[in-house]
């Protein structure tokens, strides 16, 4: 098991390293006028050159890269170009927002998805099943941003017009200011992020559950007189959930993308917003730092998923 873990971590490190190289290469290709923007339109070439030097932009690329990697390994991701704020600080401020969003949404979607999927599977082809399937298909086809906007329109705008001001139009309220406000601001974002994935997981769970329920050992369990709820809960669910776990690992990558979009729609000052505005300003260190963090998170999540999978199924370890 240890060997397996080390191998996966090694792979993850390689991935991260490759990503940094790609990012650096990308920014190298891009025409960068950061120094000029900072200096202002009237500045002389000399000032611009000075700023470039200050920011370390005139060093050869490989030198910049090595400097970056060296510092990064010490936990220093550099400073943003415009305000000289440490990137780690920027990330630190934005992270709780994104985390609240992402964690809440994933719990929500797993719960909804699996629950609906199981419901569908134990009452196949009934009206309940069919309507759940239709719902799943409907939300599955919806882009996250569109869902967010529709939620805003119906659950904020129309409700408010009707006199029920339940949800705000956006923005973030830190946890420290009260759980109620925090949750209130996050419900719509959670829903818009979660419902789409919930749809996917409903279908996935349903299919997987149906497969498992058709297996012989379930039939045996039933014939032994075990209560149906136990049959489903203890025996069937465990096997049925394996593909769900796998899928979850894959989805973590998409999750970050969805988070970016949701933060934009609901004006949440999270990592997504940060990276978008940094990109518009060509604020390299911030972009690289955040993308790196995102990739690291995905890599770690994938490793965790793999480990869980390997625990469930020892054959995986030997691959």
């Amino acid at each position: 098991m240890l060997r397996f873990l080390i191998r996966r971590i090694g792979q993850g490190a390689v991935v991260l390293w490759l990503i940094t190289m790609v990012l650096f290469a990308l920014f190298f290709i891009a025409p960068s006028n950061v120094a000029r923007t900072l200096a202002g339109r009237q500045a002389s070439a000399k000032t611009v050159a000075l700023i470039q030097q200050r920011l370390g932009l005139n060093l050869p690329l490989w030198r910049q890269y090595i400097d970056f990697v060296g510092r990064a390994l010490h936990g220093d991701l550099g400073f943003d170009y415009y305000h000289q704020v440490p990137v780690t600080t920027i990330i630190g401020q934005a992270l709780p927002v994104t985390l609240s969003l992402v964690l809440g949404a994933s719990i929500l979607w797993l719960a909804i998805g699996v629950f609906n999927g199981v419901l569908s599977a134990i009452r196949p082809r009934t009206f309940l099943d069919r309507s759940l399937t239709v719902f799943a298909l409907f939300f599955y086809s919806m882009p996250t941003f569109l869902l967010g906007l529709l939620l805003l329109y119906f659950l904020y705008f129309q409700l408010t017009l009707a006199g029920f001001r339940i949800f705000p139009a956006g923005g973030y309220s830190p946890l420290g200011d009260g759980v109620g406000a925090w949750a209130d601001h996050l419900v719509l974002p959670w829903l818009s992020l979660a419902l789409v994935s919930a749809a996917i997981y409903t279908r996935l769970t349903r299919g997987s559950m149906l497969d498992v329920l058709g297996e012989d050992y379930i039939r045996t369990a039933r014939s032994k007189g075990i209560a149906e709820s136990r049959v489903i809960g203890r025996h069937a669910l465990r096997s049925a959930l394996t593909p769900v776990v796998t899928q979850f690992g894959i989805d973590l990558g998409a999750l970050l993308g969805g988070a970016v979009v949701t933060e934009t729609v609901f004006s949440l000052p999270g990592l997504g917003q940060a990276v978008l505005s940094a990109l518009n300003q060509q604020d390299e260190p911030v972009v690289i730092g955040i993308v790196l963090l995102g990739s690291a998170a995905i890599v770690v999540a994938n490793i965790v998923v793999d480990v869980v999978y390997a625990v469930l199924d020892p054959r995986v370890r030997l691959n």
């Binding site: 098991m1 060997r3 370890r317 030997l318």
Partner: protein
């Protein structure tokens, strides 16, 4: 002997297998094949070997049918693939028609592929489900670039008729045929280039009994018509008895006995062969009661760690101490002819009743089994 690239009609036809004299068509000389396997323990990536085929020496004469029998896992399929050079040999040599093909590259083997063909066991897996039957049978022609498209189609349809299929089903897919028909398709494909030797790897094992007879008869008819040489592999001795001129018995990757077909049945020398025979169903219930019944204890040992000395000693009722040390070679025993070879230190004499035998070693599964494995003739325990 030169191979004519596109003529397939001027091959010599042997009138009868026993008339064929001269050099063997195929000679195996101490052929071994081992596969590396990953240890199932988590950390030790030790290179263990599965000894699928060990030290096999055989001859096959032109026009004859050599039956190859053994339990599942004894290595017969592996041996077949070694002969057909689908696998590389670990050691030893395969000599076909005087040519050493043991280590030929794929390119060198290509022309020889027309001479050696295989019919596979699984009628459902050996045909590509997404290709039409005509295309499948015509594959050999396409691969070796023989004839124009029209000519190929004609040849394919002739082949279909030859094996008993309706040539108008040229465009159908394998899924539209029954198991027996699919084996006919596989047979047609194997015969397309008029090979000299056909290796039949359990061709009827997956078929219903009534269909088995048809396919076997088909194979025999084809052999007569085209002077084919067969290696017929099966785990079913009764089937093999029907088709073979000579029979070789395999156990755990080694040949334990080889003899003309009837001698294997009437003059059995190796205890394992005797056990196999005793498992055959006999029609007459009285005769069935009267004969000895040997039930082998335990499973075939793991080919990764074969027993020392004679591979069979752990399950052999006649095991002696020297069986644990010495691995017997194939040789003539008692007063058998040169055709009958046995690999046993204590072969059975004519009429010897093996059910009375008791192993005289400690390392025997028979002794370690909870109940005695051997039933005395004529009654239950």
């Amino acid at each position: 002997m030169s191979n004519n690239a596109d003529s397939d009609s001027d091959r010599p036809v042997f009138s009868s297998p026993k008339d064929a004299a001269g050099d063997p068509l195929l000679r195996l000389d101490r052929v071994s094949k081992a596969f590396p396997v990953q240890s199932s323990k988590l950390f030790r990536r030790s290179r263990e070997l599965v000894h699928a085929v060990e030290d096999v020496s055989l001859e096959v004469r032109p026009g004859e049918t050599l039956g190859l029998v053994g339990e599942t896992g004894c290595g017969k399929s592996t041996l077949a693939r070694c002969i057909a050079r689908l696998y590389d040999l670990t050691s030893g040599s395969v000599i076909f028609d005087g040519k050493d093909i043991s280590y030929m590259s794929r390119r060198e083997m290509r022309p020889l592929r027309r001479e050696i063909q295989m019919i596979f066991q699984d009628p459902y897996g050996s045909l590509n489900p997404r290709r039409r039957v005509g295309s499948i049978i015509g594959d050999p022609f396409a691969i070796h670039d023989i004839g124009s498209r029209g000519e190929r189609k004609k040849k394919v349809q002739d082949l279909m008729e030859l094996v008993g299929l309706n040539p108008e089903h040229y465009n159908r897919f394998p899924s539209e045929f029954s198991g027996g028909q699919r084996q006919r398709i596989g047979t047609a494909r194997a015969l397309a280039l008029r090979p000299r030797m056909v290796i039949c790897d359990e061709p009827v094992s997956a078929l219903d009994v009534s269909i088995q007879a048809q396919i076997i008869n088909l194979l025999k008819d084809l052999q007569d018509e085209f002077g084919l040489t067969y290696i017929f592999i099966s785990h079913d001795l009764s089937v093999v008895r029907h088709v073979s001129d000579r029979i070789a018995v395999m156990y755990l990757g080694r040949i334990v006995e080889v003899a003309p077909a009837e001698e294997v049945f009437e003059c059995t020398r190796h205890p394992y062969t005797r056990a196999l025979l005793s498992a055959l169903p006999v029609a007459d219930p009285d005769a069935a009661d009267r004969r000895e019944s040997i039930v082998l204890v335990g499973d075939i040992p793991s080919p990764t760690h074969p027993p020392s000395g004679c591979r069979f000693h752990t399950r052999c009722p006649k095991a002696r101490p020297d069986c644990v040390r010495i691995n017997p070679e194939l040789e003539q025993v008692f007063d058998d002819g040169a055709e009958h070879l046995t690999a046993c230190l204590h072969p059975l004499a004519l009429g010897e009743d093996m059910s009375l035998a008791r192993p005289q070693i400690e390392d025997s599964e028979i002794l370690m089994a909870p109940r005695a494995s051997v039933k005395s003739p004529g009654g239950t325990q």
